[in-house]
Symmetry: C2
Subunit: 298 residues, 2 copies
């Protein structure tokens, strides 16, 4: 048995489980998905030194990498049913895989999600996650924001960035939103799906991600930023790493949305004019040199 097989057999296989949707046991060339619905699929790589710090415990590396990828399924109004892992590691050990597999199991238990396959190669630490979710009633796109839609975020901004800073400062062992991003539950997204027009997850910063919705919808936006929306300061609007859901909906649905997501905040309106304007509560425009995160920025 070579090293790849040893680690996959000992640590990854016990994290998998066959089900009606994923009927094939791990260990063959492919996984099988038995679905009669449309499938949403997305792939995301989390890389040491770029997306997470080198000293992050492998438990959180696993949980965070899977959560970040899964967040893309929520951003299209559905829920992650399962995922594949392609792990690159320079020198895997039993200790590393033991912690990493605990993070997988914790994610699966919390989200009722299955790991359905994976591989392991030698390389810089890179966790490439491909996630699958059956489409719910509507497939929610970035491009379907309507003029006059309310703009919402599912939770306040800046918890990711604050969590990152705390981790770097104190090398925390307690989880926070950076180390262990919380996602919307299956029950909530199932209901929310019918009330919203467009959505994206805030991975690269609110302003950058809102610009993406505006661009694809051919619209603009006016934001009204209050201290209740942000954890720390205005920098939270461009900080990213929050993995909250940014979505737009007709004002008629406001009551249902607030009932479903009590933590959510209405932060502005979609406009006909293709411009992104950000005002503080005094109506004063806030300007930004940059709109969000870029992994290539030096």
């Amino acid at each position: 048995m070579n090293k790849e097989e040893y680690f996959l057999e000992k640590y990854i296989k016990p994290c998998t489980e066959v089900s009606e949707l994923f009927p094939q046991e791990i260990g063959d060339d492919c996984a099988v998905i038995r679905s009669s619905s449309d499938l949403l699929v997305s792939t995301d790589s989390s890389i040491e030194g770029v997306h997470f710090p080198a000293n992050l415990n492998p438990y959180y590396i696993a949980y965070r990498s899977i959560a970040i990828a899964a967040s893309d399924i929520l951003a299209m109004g559905s829920y992650p049913d399962g995922y594949l892992l392609s792990i690159s590691h320079p020198q895997p050990s039993d200790e590393w895989f033991n912690d990493f597999s605990k993070g997988i199991l914790e994610f699966n238990k919390t989200h009722d999600t299955k790991l359905v396959g994976g591989d392991l190669s030698k390389g810089e630490l890179n966790i490439c996650v491909t996630v699958f979710g059956r489409a719910m009633q509507n497939i929610i796109k970035r491009s379907d924001a309507k003029e006059n839609d309310n703009i919402y975020i599912s939770n306040k901004l800046g918890l990711g960035a604050a969590g990152h800073k705390s981790f770097l400062k104190d090398n925390l062992s307690m989880p926070n939103q950076y180390m262990k991003p919380q996602l919307i539950s299956k029950e909530v997204i199932f209901e929310l799906n019918t009330f919203i027009n467009s959505a994206i997850d805030v991975s690269d910063g609110l302003l950058l991600d809102l610009k993406r919705i505006c661009k694809l919808s051919g619209k603009g936006a006016e934001l009204l930023v209050s201290k209740k929306l942000i954890f720390n300061d205005y920098e939270d609007l461009i900080a990213g790493d929050d993995y909250v859901l940014l979505f737009t909906a007709n004002d008629n649905n406001d009551e249902q949305i607030t009932a479903l997501l009590p933590q959510s905040k209405m932060i502005g309106k979609i406009t006909k004019e293709k411009k992104l304007q950000v005002n503080d509560l005094d109506g004063k425009e806030i300007n930004f040199d940059t709109f969000g995160w870029d992994s290539f920025k030096t």
Copy 2:
């Protein structure tokens, strides 16, 4: 627009195309698969310095990485319909992406396959490919080899290793099986699917991959190795990188298999005894210290 968006928009988007099976345009959080069949899915990372040399032209990096992943779908008796790319690159340039995108287009044209989504991050050069294929009549597993099955390879062994050596020696610009692996066509796999019992692709060396079939099927194998099966020497049996198909089938189907795959070779028999025995044409047993490739072996 940040660098990720710039390169994806300029070079990756033109390689994509909506279709009935993949109806969602690239640029949202997820791709959509509209399939009523079971889906086969597999993920594979190709890493610079591990799976391909640093000076390989990006055209071949693309073609080879996608082909290697696609080979896993063929190994379960189906055909790659589409794939996602998660690209990590330390310092992407227009020149690199220009060549890389030509490799994507060439693969798609040759295999009638669609690129349906992708992302780009900063990191060591790592091409993570997740590939999808609709299941054909049978899902061919590693675990279904039967006693007395003939064992076949779809083409002779060693062309990958020989191609690798030639490339390293002469920095070839002409393609070979290492740089541009040839795969079985859709028409052939569609027919072959009904004649075979088990299969795997020879990625890590014939003996190692045959052992995997034997282990999961609870069987053994006797191989009879002739010079016609190998390109160079017996080392080709453990060299890997060939991406030929290794499969087993009832002897009754031999004629149809040979007609479908004239290059294929019958190389032995599946046995009840759980042992892998390799003989040369004089009946002399050949012994190996190792059975195949391991990316962690130093």
